[in-house]
């Protein structure tokens, strides 16, 4: 409205014009403030929806009692007994160490193998290169589940069942095609003039890889390391198939067994276990979010 009136006013009276300008300045911030208020209201609502389930599970882990019905987001008389009983009455500590072992092995194996394969596929021209790349691409489309069942039957026959190292090896192999493609895609984008210069100076391929290309691959190495370290903590299908004895369970299996109980009698203990599992990974993700998002979008570019 003010803008429509402005031309007529300018013609007639400078005082009125000043008033109109002031009014315009005042209404504009008011609209701004309303928009800003709505914006923050929306953010607040979404934040509440996001935070509530997490707050609830943290609250549940401190709630007295054992059942699901006892859980409350802000318990009146908080207790840490569930955290204590988690380590004294269940095998949680054992599960945690098992997961840590698989996760570490999976991370180291995946980073080393995918970096090597990615570098070779990107920089060395050799016979079978194209076939190899296409082959692992097709392999990666196969549902892991089909592989998992078959791996189970094979491991059963060869006595490899119930081994954490076996589980880590299967996990490395399952993720290797995708990680190799990631590494290859990333190395493709590194300037090859650096390696060529080093090759002219007489450096061997291995030296070029270790001294020149590997340091440049660091962002992608970080991405693969984080994703492969966190994966075994959440993975369910493979450990459920391959691990059997109680002392070989991982955290995910143990937590799932706790919550399977129909009457939800171990719920608060489950909550404590879930919190201990989630906190380190959550912090890791939030701190390293930049690497993770870039890595994921790089994967999309290269299929």
């Amino acid at each position: 409205m003010t803008t429509e009136q402005a031309p007529t006013l300018t013609a007639s009276d400078p005082a009125q014009r000043a008033r109109a300008a002031r009014r315009r300045r005042r209404t504009a911030p008011r609209a701004d403030r309303v928009a800003s208020a709505f914006l923050h209201l929306e953010l607040l609502v979404v934040a509440a929806i996001v935070v509530f389930p997490l707050l609830w599970i943290v609250g549940a882990s401190f709630s007295p009692g054992t059942g699901l019905a006892n859980a409350s987001p802000i318990p009146a008389d908080a207790t840490v007994e569930h955290y204590v009983s988690l380590f004294t009455e269940t095998d949680y500590g054992r599960w945690y160490l098992n997961s840590l072992y698989v996760a570490t092995l999976n991370m180291v194996g995946s980073v080393v193998l995918s970096a090597l394969c990615g570098y070779v596929f990107s920089r060395v021209r050799f016979r079978g290169r194209k076939a190899g790349l296409l082959g692992i691409l097709i392999l990666q489309m196969f549902p892991t589940f089909l592989t998992a069942i078959a791996v189970y039957m094979l491991f059963l026959n060869f006595g490899l069942l119930d081994s954490l190292t076996g589980l880590a090896l299967v996990s490395i192999a399952a993720a290797l095609p995708y990680n190799t493609w990631l590494m290859k895609g990333y190395t493709d984008n590194l300037p090859s003039s650096l390696d060529e210069a080093a090759a002219i100076d007489g450096a061997s391929r291995w030296t070029i890889f270790v001294r020149i290309v590997l340091p440049l691959m660091r962002p992608m190495l970080t991405f693969v390391a984080i994703t492969q370290f966190t994966m075994p903590w959440m993975d369910f299908i493979l450990p459920a198939l391959l691990l059997q004895s109680p002392e070989k369970q991982t955290v995910a299996l143990g937590l799932f067994a706790m919550i399977e109980d129909v009457y939800q009698n171990a719920f608060t203990t489950f909550a404590a276990g879930a919190v201990i599992l989630a906190v380190p990974i959550t912090i890791l993700y939030i701190v390293l979010q930049r690497y993770l998002v870039t890595g994921a979008s790089a994967g999309a570019e290269k299929g």
Partner: protein, 459 residues
């Protein structure tokens, strides 16, 4: 004519050493006077024969049958073809040891893969023998074995570096995949479990079962339809919500944007299995807080059984989609947020000059730029939602039950149905067929997506 040529028996035609190498590995190289190479190839030949003899039951005057006498390779191939001939039987002396078809099949596959690898070396040896002789006949100087291997070694950098990864992939991925494909053509299921029974090859019978038996077909079509709806809606809603949230956060009026951003990223950062199990407890019909709250507030008269009430399958589906939205939007928010910071301000300034409002700027600048970057990821997200085992299995376990379906509930996706089929019901053969169908669907989408991207053309 040269002295070198006369040194190695002139006039011998090229195919002769090749043929010799084909019969006895390395003998062709010996004819070419290359003892080192000959020993190299013969070593593989000896290993092959030795392995077969050592693992088999060979003796003079035997009455040869592959089952009784065959070694690793012959018995392996026999097992792969027949899947065993003698079931476990009750005799006077007790249970006889029958053939375990699945073990036979696995061993047969390993034997076949090993033979395949050896065949590569065999072909290499035959071609090398013939080619070298051809080169000699054409007047080339003979190459010593040592020089040859040094040359090969320098060119083999790629293969040596790749080999650990490739061995792992062959035995942990390729072998299981082949095994899974083979199972789809057998009658391996709970009615026919080795070592009690023998498993047989049945051709395409399992495929026929899924498409011809009405209850199987109905389940397949129903689950497939829901899987597509799930994958499309889940991808679309998470993308839309993530986009909206990113655009709102990019607004300059927002105070403390980094704090908000970190809060919104929480569902992405918390391990998926934890969030899914937490939601499962919150939506627990009997004890869960949400049902309780609805009753307390007076919105519902009695507790809502979100995931177990067969009369409301769509309620369970809608809740699963909402939970997935909670889980999935932060990733797209982070992604779109990254793209937004890279759009130069000058675009928007130019648009403002031309009198474009905020909505028009969003519609004609933000949306196209973001979409161009994110589109390939949408396909990837679609595929991962298509196989989203975690959310469905942990949240609903496929429930509520569906009386029209075989071993599947109303929220079951193909992948969770597969889990029920194989693990809970041990219908391995039908499960294998399902896996192949999923592979065909996912593979088609992925190939179509790849064709559009530059990754393949740059290979």
């Amino acid at each position: 004519m040269s002295t070198a040529r006369q040194a190695v028996r002139p006039g011998l035609p090229a195919p002769v050493p090749g043929l010799a190498s084909a019969l006895v590995w390395g003998s062709g190289q010996l004819l070419n006077r290359q003892a080192g190479k000959a020993a190299f190839f013969f070593a593989f030949f000896a290993a092959l024969i030795g392995w077969e003899m050592g693992t088999g039951n060979y003796y003079a005057g035997m009455d040869y049958t592959p089952r009784a006498n065959g070694g690793f390779f012959i018995r392996g191939l026999w097992g792969l073809f027949t899947l065993g001939t003698q079931p476990r039987q009750m005799t006077v002396t007790g249970l006889t040891e029958g053939d375990n078809s699945i073990v036979l099949m696995a061993n047969g596959l390993i034997a076949l893969l090993t033979l395949g690898l050896l065949a590569i070396i065999w072909i290499w040896g035959v071609r090398d023998a013939a080619n070298h002789r051809r080169a000699l006949n054409a007047g080339a100087a003979p190459e010593t074995s040592r020089a040859y291997f040094k040359r090969i070694w320098d060119g083999a950098f790629a293969y040596i570096v790749l080999s650990p990864g490739m061995v792992l992939i062959v035995f942990m991925s390729v072998l299981p995949v082949l095994f899974g494909i083979l199972v789809a053509f057998t009658d391996y299921n709970r009615d026919n479990l080795p070592p009690k029974n023998l498993v047989n090859w049945v051709g395409f019978e399992n495929f026929a079962t899924i498409f011809a038996v009405p209850s199987w077909t109905a389940t397949f079509i129903g689950v497939l339809g829901w899987t597509f709806v799930w994958a499309i809606v889940a991808t679309a809603t998470t993308y839309a919500a993530g986009f909206l949230q990113a655009v709102l956060l990019a607004n300059k009026k927002v105070r403390f944007p980094r704090v908000w951003r970190s809060v919104f990223l929480l569902p992405w950062a918390v391990p998926g299995i934890v969030s899914a199990l937490v939601f499962r407890s919150m939506f627990n019909g009997q004890f869960g807080p949400i049902s309780q709250w609805l009753v307390d507030v007076g919105l519902t008269d009695e507790r809502v059984y979100w995931f177990t009430d067969p009369s409301h399958p769509n309620l369970a589906r809608a809740v699963a989609l909402l939970v997935n939205l909670w889980l999935g939007f932060p990733f797209f928010m982070a992604l779109v947020g990254g793209v937004l910071t890279n759009i130069p301000d000058s675009y928007y300034e130019a648009a403002r000059m031309d009198g474009a409002g905020p909505l028009q700027q969003l519609r004609h600048i933000t949306l196209p730029v973001v979409h161009k970057t994110v589109a390939p990821l949408l396909i990837l997200a679609f595929v991962s939602n298509f196989n989203n085992f975690g959310v469905i299995y942990f949240l609903t376990q496929g429930g509520p039950d569906n009386a029209d379906y075989r071993f599947a509930g109303s929220t079951d996706l193909l992948i969770t149905w597969l889990f029920h089929l194989t693990l809970d019901n041990r219908l391995y053969n039908i499960g294998a067929v399902m896996s192949m169908l999923i592979f065909v669907i996912v593979g088609t989408i992925s190939v179509w997506n790849l064709n559009r991207s530059k990754a393949i053309r740059e290979l």
